[in-house]
Subunit: 648 residues, 2 copies
Amino acid sequence: MVSSTIFESSDAVRSAKPLRYVQSLQLAEPLALEKGGTLPRVTVAYETYGRLSAARDNVILVCHAISGDSHVAKHDAADDPGWWDVVVGPGKAINTDRFFVICPNLLGGCRGTTGPCSENPETGKPYGRDFPTVTIGDMVAVQRRLLSQLGISQLLAVAGGSLGGHQALTWATRHPGSVRGVIALATSPRLTSQAIAFDVVGRNAILHDPHFHGGQYYDQPHGPDVGLALARMIGHITYLSPESMQEKFEADRLHPRDVAIEFEKKFSVGTYLGYQGAKFVERFDANSYVTLSLAMDLFDLGGTPEVLSAAFRPARARWLVISFTSDWLFPPDQSRDLVNALVANNAPVTYCNVQSAGGHDAFLLPDELDIYGEMIRAFLVNLPAGQVPAAGAHAGEAAASHSTTPFEAPPSANSLQPVPAAPGIVQPASAGFAEEHPGPTSIFHQHRLDYDRIVELIPPEASVLDLGCGSGTLLARLRQGNHRRLVGVELDERKILNCVSRGLDVIQEDLNKGLGAFGTQEFDYVILSQTLQAVFDVEGVLLEMLRVGRRCIVSIPNFGYRPLRRMLADDGRAPKSGGVLRYEWYNTPNIRFFTIADFEDFCLSKSLRVDRRIALDTEKHAEIFEEANLDADMAIFVISQNQPATRS
Amino acid sequence: MVSSTIFESSDAVRSAKPLRYVQSLQLAEPLALEKGGTLPRVTVAYETYGRLSAARDNVILVCHAISGDSHVAKHDAADDPGWWDVVVGPGKAINTDRFFVICPNLLGGCRGTTGPCSENPETGKPYGRDFPTVTIGDMVAVQRRLLSQLGISQLLAVAGGSLGGHQALTWATRHPGSVRGVIALATSPRLTSQAIAFDVVGRNAILHDPHFHGGQYYDQPHGPDVGLALARMIGHITYLSPESMQEKFEADRLHPRDVAIEFEKKFSVGTYLGYQGAKFVERFDANSYVTLSLAMDLFDLGGTPEVLSAAFRPARARWLVISFTSDWLFPPDQSRDLVNALVANNAPVTYCNVQSAGGHDAFLLPDELDIYGEMIRAFLVNLPAGQVPAAGAHAGEAAASHSTTPFEAPPSANSLQPVPAAPGIVQPASAGFAEEHPGPTSIFHQHRLDYDRIVELIPPEASVLDLGCGSGTLLARLRQGNHRRLVGVELDERKILNCVSRGLDVIQEDLNKGLGAFGTQEFDYVILSQTLQAVFDVEGVLLEMLRVGRRCIVSIPNFGYRPLRRMLADDGRAPKSGGVLRYEWYNTPNIRFFTIADFEDFCLSKSLRVDRRIALDTEKHAEIFEEANLDADMAIFVISQNQPATRS
C-alpha cells in the first residue's frame, strides 16, 4: 500500500468539531413550508467575511452545496480551510476587502442551522424523519429572513454552484427586487434523470441501512453509517470527471491506499472512495443528506424552453452563468438551457462553458481560476451599486406572487452595523482592453476600418448582436451611443473574459451550430464582420442571422479584387493578401472563397434583400462605387428578409 | 402512478426458474485457478443453437456479460426470450441456419455453472465466500475444456460484449490457434477507474448488508437482497446513456411507476431502478455478483500502447471491434486502444464506433442492428473456414506460454455428432458493391479514372493504406493484385459496412485527428484520392501520411485549370465545375483552394520529395506534359520524405 497523499479532496474533509466564527440567529417568526407544515423555531448558523459598507450595498450571499456549510473561507491564517478559499478572501475573485460576504448553513443541514438532527419542540427529541420535506424555496426564505433581521435589504450578488446555484436561481426569480447580480456555477434548472437516479440509490442505501432505525438513530450506538458512506461514495464518483479519475488512479490502479477503512481495499480508487465515505460519516448527518438531496431532486424551474422562459420572466438581475466542459452531473447543456431562457427574456447575461477536466467539482478547484475566477471578479466589479432597476427595465414583468421590492429590513437587535469600508482594490471597468489586438479575423493590422462604417450604419437606440465579437471592441464603441441592448457571441473563453472585464454581455456559442439562444427578430441589427469566409455552414449562419435580426450587417473580403484575380489567373497560385487573407492555402482559417458578385448572387437566389452595400478599397481608404467586384477588397452588406421588416 | 409498461429492460428480466434446453457437463479434470487454488469439480451449463457442420468448422462461441447466462436466444417460438434474440437466430446476424452457436454460463455464475452457490465438495455446503477468486482467464479455460470434451477444436468465431468481450479478447490472445474471428463489442482492455469505482460501491453494498452473513446466507431466510439490489441499481444507471434516461424519464419525472417495491417511490427513474433491483435479486446470487464483478475489475491487458501491443502479439484472428458513441461505461476510446494495439501487430481488423443513444446496452438493443448487426453478419460470412493461419502469417509471434495449436479434441462420450448442415443463406462476399456510386468526393460521374492510374502506380506485394476509402472500390481493385496488406480508413459507418461486406479491413477515423492507429512507416503506400481539398489540417494530414507510409499518393483537383481561372478572372465568380467541384461556394465540402503549382511549392517548402507527378485533363482523357498547371484539371502526386525511403 502506498501513502495516502492523494486524499486531499476538493471537498475539504473537515472534522466535526464546532467551527469558530460561526454566528447564529433565531428567526423571529415560525417558518411555513412550501410542501406543507411549519417549523416553529428556526435557528440559522452563518459566517461573514469583510465589512458591510455604510450604504449596505456591498453584500454578496454565497450559497453552499450539499455537503458544504457556512465556512466558505478561512477567517485568518490559523483558521480551518474553507470550502471556497480559492475564490473568497482578501484580494481574491470575491474580494472581501471590498465586499461583505455572508454564507448561512442550509435549512435541513447539520452544521448549525435547523435540520433533522435539531430538537423537535413538540417532542423534545431530534426531528429525525419527522423533519418535514423542505425545498430550495424554503432554504431561500430562511436566508431572506436572516438577512432582513441583520438589516440587509439588498444583495449586490448571490453566488453558488450546484445546489448553491439552485438557491441563486431561486433568489433571482422569486425575489427579483433584492438581487443585482447572479453568479450561477455548474448548476441547472433541474437535475437530469441520471443525477436523480444516483441520488435515489444513495437514499435507498441510507433508508435501508438496518441502523437507520426509522431515522431515530441519534441515541443509538450507530447511525446508518454504511448507507451514508455508500451514498457519499456514489456522490463522489459523480463529482469527478472520468479523465480526472484516470489521472488520479490509473497508474497504480491495483495498489490500494493505506487507509483504515472497513470497506473493500483492492483498488486505489476503491480505497479513495472508502476513505471519503468513512470521513463523511464523521461530519454529516444521514437524515440531512436525505433531506438536502431530496430538495435538490425536487427543484424544477421547468423542462421546456417555454416553461423555463416563464420562470425567468420576473428576474431583473445581471447574470454570469458558468459551466465546465467535463461536468457530467450538471452537464453544460443545462446551463445553456438557463442562458437561453434568460436571453429569451432580454436579461443581461454572460455565459461561458469553461474548458476543464475537473468535472462537477471544477468550481471548487484552483485549476481554472484564471478563467472562472477572473470572470467572477470582473463581473462583480462591473455590477452597479444601488437599487435593482424596476421591473420592466428589461423585458421582465414580476409575477404577482413574487416579491418585487427590496424586503423590509427593520433595525433590530441583530442588525449589523456598517463600518467604513477598507480601501479595496478597485479595478476600472474596462482596464486593459482599450483597443483590441488584431486577431486572425482582423483584416487591417492597425485599425478596423470596417468598424467605423458599421458603427455609422447602426442608428442609436437599436439593439445589436455582434457575432464573433472577440474582446468586445466593436460593442464597446457602440456602447458610447445610446443603444438599447448590446450582446456579443464569442467562442474563445479568454476573449469572453475580456468582454466581461469591459462590462459587456457575451454568450459563448459556436456559430456553425446556430443561434439557438436567440429568439426570432430579437435584435434590430446582427453583425458578422470578416468572419463569413471562415464559416463552414454559410447558408445556415446567414439564415440564423436573418431569423434573429431585423437587419444583418455582413462584412466580407472580396476574392474578386483585381490583384487576387491576377494571382490565380497570371501566376496560377491561390490568392493571398494581408489581414484576414494573409495565410497560406493550407493553413488559412478561411474556408470559403467568394467574391462580392458571388455574395450578391447568393442573396438573389435566396430572396434576401440587400438594403445597402458599401464597397471599400482599404489600401487606398476609398469607397468604390463602380466595378466594386474588381476594385474593392472588402464589402459591407446590410441585408434583410425580402418581406419588409416589421420595424425598420 | 402510471402503468409499468416502460419496464421492458434491454437486459431481459427473467424468472429464476430453470431454463429448458440447458445442457450441462462436468469437466474431466479439476481446474487449477490463476490466482491460486483448485476447483476439484466444475460443472458447466450451456446451450447450443444450429447444427455442427461435418467439418466441425462452423462453431461460434458466444460469451455473456455479467448478468447474462447461457440462454442467448429463444430455441423456439414458445421459449423464454434470450438476452441476444436480436442478433442470434435463424436468418439473423449470427445465423443459426448456418452456424453452430454455443453459449456456456460463466464460471462463478449462478445459472448452472459452478459458482459460489454450488456445493463445496470439502464441506458439503455452498462455497459462499470460500469460492476462490476467478479471472477471465479461468472462465475461458473452462469454456475451452467444455469445447474440447464436446469434440470441438476450432472456433470459427468468438463473440461477446462487455465482460463477454473480455472473454473474446482472452480467447484470441491466449489461444490464438483456436480462433479464426473475434467479434468484440462495447468492450475494453481493462475497466476505467470510474467503472471500477461503481463496482466497488456495489460490492461494498453487498458485503456490508447485515444479511450477508459472511457469504453463508443460503440457509438464512434472507440474503443480502438490499445490497445486491443497490449494486444492480448502480449498474443499471451505468448501462444507460444520459440521453436514453432523459427520453425514458424526463417527461414524467415526478410520476413514479406503480410497482410493488420496498425502495423509494418518488421519481419515475427511482421506481424503474427499484424494480430492476428487486427483480434482479430473484434471479441472481449476490456472491456471484461479487465474484464476476471482481473478475471484470481485475481484467487487464495493459494500460499503455506498448503493453497492449505486446498483449495482442500472439493473436492471429481476424477482428471486428465495435463500440457505441454513447457508451460511457466502456468508452469508445478504449475500443480504439484495442484497435491501435491490433493495428500495431498488423492484425486484420475492422473498427466502427456506431452512432447510438443506447449507452453500454446498445449492443443488446435492436436500434442500431442495421449497422452493428449487419457488420457482424458480413464479418462472419467473409471469415474463411479451415485452420487458423500459422503464427507469423501476420506479424504475431505466439508466446511460449500460449497454446498456438488447436486444442486436443479426443472423441468422448460427450462428443457432439455433426449433422449435415441445413442449407443456409450464403451471401456472396462482395454482394451489391460491384462499383461504387459516385459520392461527393468522386471527381468523375461515371468512372474514377484516377483509380486506374493509382492502381498502375502501386507495385504488387506492396502494403496499402487507403484514406477516405469509401465503400472500398479502390481497395477491392487492388485486392485483385497480390498485395500484402490492404487497409482502409473511413468515417461513414454505412461505407464501413460496405467494406466489411466486401471482406475488407477498415478503421473508422477522422483524418483531421491524425492517423494515431498506425505506426511509423507501416505501409508501403498511403493513398489520399480527391480528398485533400476537403481536409482542414492539410499539413497535419500530409505529415501523418508520410509518417505512416514510405510513399504517398495524393490526387488533387487543380484550381489552376484554365477554365477555372477564367471564372474568377473574367466572370469574377468563385470557380466551379463538375465532379468534386460541382458545388456552390457556400455549400461545397471543399475548403482548400489550391493549384498544382501551389501543391508543388508546398512540397518544396516542407522538403518533401515529389517522386512522380501525373497531370490529367480528364475531360479529354489525356495526360498533360506541358503547362500542367493550366491544362490539367487533376493531378496525381507520388511523394515521400526527402531522405531516401528505407525500402523503395
